[in-house]
Subunit: 136 residues, 6 copies
Amino acid sequence: MVYLTRLEHFNAAHKLYNPNWSKEKNEEVFEGCANENWHGHNFDLYVTVKGEVNPETGFVMNLKDLSKIIREHVIKKVDHKNLNLDVDFMQGKMASAEVLIVEIWKILEKQLPQGVFMHALKLYETARSFVEYYGE
Amino acid sequence: MVYLTRLEHFNAAHKLYNPNWSKEKNEEVFEGCANENWHGHNFDLYVTVKGEVNPETGFVMNLKDLSKIIREHVIKKVDHKNLNLDVDFMQGKMASAEVLIVEIWKILEKQLPQGVFMHALKLYETARSFVEYYGE
Amino acid sequence: MVYLTRLEHFNAAHKLYNPNWSKEKNEEVFEGCANENWHGHNFDLYVTVKGEVNPETGFVMNLKDLSKIIREHVIKKVDHKNLNLDVDFMQGKMASAEVLIVEIWKILEKQLPQGVFMHALKLYETARSFVEYYGE
Amino acid sequence: MVYLTRLEHFNAAHKLYNPNWSKEKNEEVFEGCANENWHGHNFDLYVTVKGEVNPETGFVMNLKDLSKIIREHVIKKVDHKNLNLDVDFMQGKMASAEVLIVEIWKILEKQLPQGVFMHALKLYETARSFVEYYGE
Amino acid sequence: MVYLTRLEHFNAAHKLYNPNWSKEKNEEVFEGCANENWHGHNFDLYVTVKGEVNPETGFVMNLKDLSKIIREHVIKKVDHKNLNLDVDFMQGKMASAEVLIVEIWKILEKQLPQGVFMHALKLYETARSFVEYYGE
Amino acid sequence: MVYLTRLEHFNAAHKLYNPNWSKEKNEEVFEGCANENWHGHNFDLYVTVKGEVNPETGFVMNLKDLSKIIREHVIKKVDHKNLNLDVDFMQGKMASAEVLIVEIWKILEKQLPQGVFMHALKLYETARSFVEYYGE
């Protein structure tokens, strides 16, 4: 079993804002992240899959195919977008890295070829903070 | 003459949109960057000053002072903000990295202690693109 | 269960020196790291916690709180310090990255809010060498 | 149990080419990687070992010894080499990162001192793609 | 005058070998880089152009256009190629970073739009070595 | 004229302390950097030389020779050392990055082969602060 990871990027706007709370409570909890006019990040998404190595190709899976799956099913929905307003799978949810990574997992786990499995997602929001998810 | 550089970060939303143009022309020129609901970046700002080395301190200037100047006069105005909507010195201007770096220069060059001079600004919008300005 | 990581930095001096050994044996085993006048590093400390995502905040825990815990309980004790001489929790111990990471774990695991658990520590001593600890 | 990691580099040429396939099929599957005149990479190899911390040294093992093992048994065989033509342990195998990492594991696991065990290998082929192996 | 930089990557094989010299002299001068079976690198190419900021776009030039110029005129000729064998503009020349950067300059300086000028090229061969060229 | 840069590392302890000042004034000016028991850094030193490209080698100068010069004349004097106590060329001087870079320049400019000239030094003290020197 070998683990293969591909990094893809996206740049998006968001805010952390709970509509069930007052503006004051939002600012107290989320501070600058609650700015009503949004802020944004360069997100780095590492997708790790695992599988046996195919002796004919030497691959767990073709990296170009993995890249294509991530771009088509995730990146084109979030890149140069507003995570709160523009992204169908984030509607009605908090636009945090934690929530986003779980939703991205749900999308990607349906797209892998037979014999290849999701192992981990790692999502950098800044160079000093990131979240990871292993599907459970 | 020694050159001293400090890196500070900010996370901001923006869009590239010329209000004198049609939506179609904006999208043709700026593509995803014209998204009306904004997108955003982790900006990295390198500020380089130059001066003689003070033999008593070994410093061109105290790095903590340089950091404080950048934070008070620039970072707190742009961090977790919308560059188009929230930033006084960007009102009525295109919110591009090129325009932003020139405006930041104008602010910082007034704040340096005697005998220390602005040399360069370098502003990363993504890991693969940045602008530089030398004041002329 | 989502994993949340925060990076904090500290700059410290240390030496690797076993007081029960001769100077010669120390230099044989630790080479330059045994220099009696110390050397030092920029240490990078990654703290990873895990927990359920709170649907009201979208957070495992507030990243600002995690940062504050690390700074108050670890960074302010080691930053711009001598690990052998200045740090209470390192007294009488070898000032290696391995020993340091285990001691940092003991401190941090007592400081997390309910429902959030330590998962991993990762401590870079140089860009080419680091240690990890998972609490067991 | 603490985990200790050392990064070593090597620069090598390779191509991805299955000699049992036609040139057309190779180019269809491997695209540019099948270029008959080779291409190459700066490979980054992270070797992670685990063990108890020796209280006399503060070490899982001496990092200089770990570095020496990796350099003597792996790096000198692959650095500034052609992975398909020059490397004994890759003869007759696909020169992919997946195959290479498994072969490197087989070599390194025989070289560790008593009480120290291989935990993981991580091999970057580019800044955006890497493989990992845990020995099973 | 603002300076705009774009980073593009390519992965290539090469060797350093002067055909007018003996094999022994090549190995003495170029050591491992003279390996007759090639080695390779992940090259990072930073292209810096300069110009006035267009007030209608906020741009020195459109970054997407700069990227396209670099990819079409340079990257597609060198990526996943052998610099000695496959690249027309390197025929009969030493395949060093110094020679390569001067040849890339000659290509790119003919491709820029009016009012935009080449300022600098920076070419990383490894993370620890790079060359720069300013056209003179 | 092509510019060639080599990066070398060293890990050192130091403190910023002016012996002509009171302890209080030192702590007021240098804060944590004045800690009497030292602190330390992983320093990154970029050495940039310039020259014509030799058509026989394709080199400004052999990178291995440049590396050897830096290591023999600078790195072995500062690596795993105390900049205030152990380094001959820093005796009686403030151990700041600014002072250090000027002293390193004086050493290196005497060591280059004919036709190759020092262009710049860049010395990182942390990932967020560095100094540069051009010899004047």
